[in-house]
């Protein structure tokens, strides 16, 4: 796992990327980050995530993982469930949120 500097929101809440969240966690999206692995298409992926409802401020819940490790990850957002691969999940920065 890459060493990320510990981030916090402006109000001092800890920030972690979606793929680091445990199953059952509730979180609020802080921002959609740049993912270098996507290269030039990164903007596209960001747009698609937003179109599906992954917008800053939206709340989500981690509902499960694929069979091998924590990739892909399943989340519920706006009542809809999506499976995301780790590369996509890494773009989504979240902060804990009470259900």
């Amino acid at each position: 796992m890459p060493n990320r500097p510990l981030q916090t929101t402006e109000t001092g809440h800890p920030v972690s990327p979606l793929h680091d969240l445990p199953k059952g966690a509730h979180a609020r999206i802080v921002s959609i980050d740049v993912q270098n692995a996507f290269g030039q298409r990164d903007e596209h992926v960001t747009q698609r995530l937003k179109e599906l409802g992954f917008l800053p401020g939206a709340t989500l819940k981690v509902i499960g993982f694929g069979l091998f490790g924590k990739d892909p990850i399943a989340v519920q957002i706006n009542g809809t469930k999506f499976g995301l691969r780790r590369r996509e999940a890494e773009k989504i920065l979240t902060t804990p949120h009470k259900a």
Binding site: K23, F38, G39, Q40, R41, H44, V45, Q47, R48, L49, K50, E51, L52, G53, L55, P56, I63, G64, F65, G66, L67, F68, G69, D71, P72, A74, Q76, N78, G79, T80, K81, F82, G83, L84, R85, R87, E88
Partner: protein, 620 residues
């Protein structure tokens, strides 16, 4: 309309909506299920078109691939966009859009609707699954929503017989105002960012939609089970095991019954007619050929019964999610697992099952590698050759050498498929690589009407589109193996004098480097009908009666071990089954893809057999 009129093409309606919004069920209701199913020109994306019922003038309906957005689009979504804009070759632009939204998932659907509205085409909004929404306590004020959107809005329940009446009324009304224009429309620049669009939707829904915050409890409970690391795995393995067992084993009594019936009919017809060309043609050409088409049906119907039920219930996307990691290493996704698993029984239903893969490139790769999964028709050939050449001895204390050889043949197929899929994925432009964002739809009880329609549709596609080709090719093979007849004083088996025999002998020099004798080459020709026929063909050319052990003994005498192993290697790869080639032609709708498929597999078979022969010659 009088005959003096120039017949105008029918008005074109298009169903547009997110994946999983129940578009296809709606399509079935609106068209009375008489759909034409094909591919769009040049891409392996399914196209579904049918005539609308209950309209005043003829009108057709096209069911577009599910899409979330006009702007950011995966390859299959791009097809939907291009059809809507009129950019797709051979597809006239739709005159009227019927936007379909899952009423239990309004926000996501409405986002696309607002994008579509900017295009300015006449449009109706169908709030589908209105019954499920009502059941969940979602209250929608339809008239108010319609006023705010500026679109006619109707509620639909595609699973109920009268659930689309209101939509049909709205379609008749809008048809009167719609103009037919065969132009293209430019995609307008995005007017607002996604945040603003969602904010607008929230405003719009406020006051006219009330919904409870959480999905029903049983949905949650089911997902807790299915996403569970232990129980979920158990559910998945049980499902896959049942499916594999059904396609592999439960289908075989039906296959045998079809086989027996076809033989019985053949015998009856044979008894009625005098011996001669006509009798031979009817019994061994036409009736046997029809039989060779029908034997695929049990497996196809059983496999699709599973796939349709799993897809409609919402489990299939979850199985794809759970298995995604396993397939990703070779550039595929969880969606390709079930088609490949099914191919162990038979590649024909397996390749047909690739229709549930949305990404056209992934679907093509899956089709290309599916026949490398060792199908059941190879087993008789493997059993014969292994039984004759591999000693029945125990190695390393527990393993049987014959068993190890069979296992190695399975593994060779799987490893080769993985390598080829990986290479094909590398060949594609990385820029076309689209991230996996897989929606896991709500669980639903499959609806009998749509389930049976889906099964009927698959069976018909196979019988009409593929069966006719298989029948024609079977008759051609019969002709090649029958003509010219052996002379009266013939000493050798009749097949040697036929075109198939001549072809086999003609092919032999080409197969020289592989060590194949002309008898082995002859057996390859009728084996094109089905691989297992190679066994009876070998018995014929070597003129051996008295069952497999006698044949095995005479093969052991005639072939060397390296050549026998080379023959096995050939059967691992060779597209030694015309039905598979026919189904690839149908599913890819591309002659080039079919040629590439056939060519690469034959080449691979040749190289593998050649290498096997030389390596076995050096080492054994």
């Amino acid at each position: 309309m009088t005959s003096a009129h120039v017949t105008t093409p029918p008005l074109r309606f298009a169903l547009v909506g997110n994946p999983n919004c129940g578009k296809t069920a709606l399509f079935n209701r609106l068209t009375g299920s008489r759909a034409k199913v094909a591919n769009y020109a040049g891409v392996t994306v399914e196209k579904r078109i049918g005539l609308l019922q209950q309209m005043d003038a003829p009108a057709e309906l096209i069911d577009l691939p599910g899409t979330y957005s006009l702007y950011v689009a995966s390859p299959d979504e791009q097809v939907a966009r291009r059809v809507i804009l009129g950019e797709m070759a051979d597809e006239a632009r739709p005159d009227v859009l019927v936007a379909v939204v899952d009423a239990t998932n309004l926000k996501l659907g409405l986002r696309l609707v607002l994008e579509l509205k900017v295009l300015g085409l006449p449009m109706i909004l169908a709030l589908n699954m209105a019954d499920a929404a009502e059941h969940r306590g979602i209250r929608i004020q339809v008239d108010e929503l319609s006023r705010r959107l500026g679109l006619p809005v109707v509620e639909t329940v595609a699973v109920r017989k009268h659930g689309v009446n209101a939509l049909q009324d709205a379609m008749r009304t809008i048809a009167k105002q719609a103009l037919q224009r065969a132009d293209t429309i430019p995609l307008p620049a995005r007017g607002e960012d996604v945040e603003a669009l969602y904010a607008r939707i929230d405003d719009m829904l406020a006051g006219c939609v009330s919904a409870p915050a959480n999905p029903p409890r049983w949905q949650e409970a089911l997902d807790t089970l299915i996403m569970h690391p232990v129980w979920g795995l158990l559910v998945l393995l049980t499902t896959l095991f049942l499916m594999f067992q059904a396609v592999f084993a439960w289908a075989s009594p039906l296959v045998d019954a079809i086989d027996t019936s076809v033989q019985w009919i053949g015998a009856q017809v044979g008894a009625l007619l005098p011996t001669g060309i006509l009798q031979d043609f009817l019994v061994n050409g036409l009736i046997a050929g029809t039989g060779s088409v029908l034997v695929f049906l049990p497996q196809i119907i059983i496999l699709f019964a599973f796939i349709l039920a799993l897809e409609d219930s919402g489990y299939l996307p979850r199985a794809a999610f759970l298995l995604d990691r396993l397939m990703r290493g070779v550039g595929l996704s969880g969606r390709s697992f079930i088609p490949l698993l099914s191919s162990f029984a038979c590649a024909v239903p397996g390749i047909m099952a690739t229709r549930s893969i949305a990404d056209p490139k992934e679907r093509l790769i899956t089709i290309m590698v599916a026949p490398l999964m060792t199908c059941s028709a190879r087993l008789p050939v493997y059993a014969l050759v292994i039984g004759a050449f591999i000693p029945h001895q125990t190695v390393w204390g527990v393993f049987n050498l014959q068993g190890i050889t069979l296992f190695a043949l399975y593994i060779a197929g799987i490893v080769s498929a993985a390598l080829i899929a990986w290479v094909m994925r590398k060949q594609q432009h990385a820029a076309d690589d689209f991230p996996l964002l897989l929606e896991l739809p709500s669980y639903r009880w499959p609806n009998a009407y749509h389930f049976l329609l889906g099964l009927k549709e698959r069976a018909w596609i196979f019988i009409r589109r593929v069966g006719t080709i298989i029948l024609a090719l079977s008759i051609l093979l019969w002709f090649l193996a029958t003509y010219p007849h052996a002379p009266l004083n013939a000493t050798a088996p009749a097949i040697e004098y036929s075109f198939a025999g001549m072809l086999g002998k003609l092919m032999q020099p080409l197969f020289g480097p592989l060590g194949f004798s002309w008898q082995m080459c002859i057996a390859l020709i009728p084996a094109m009908a089905a691989r297992e026929v190679a066994v009876s063909a070998l018995a014929t050319v070597y003129a051996v009666g008295g069952g497999e052990s006698a044949l095995g003994a005479s093969l052991a005498h005639a072939w060397g071990l390296p050549v026998a192993l080379a023959y096995l290697a050939w059967f691992v790869y060779a597209p030694q089954c015309l039905s598979t080639i026919a189904v690839v032609r149908r599913e890819t709708n591309s002659v080039n893809a079919t040629i590439a498929f056939t060519g690469y597999l034959f080449l691979l078979a040749y190289l593998a057999a050649c290498a096997t022969r030389y390596l076995a010659g050096v080492w054994l």
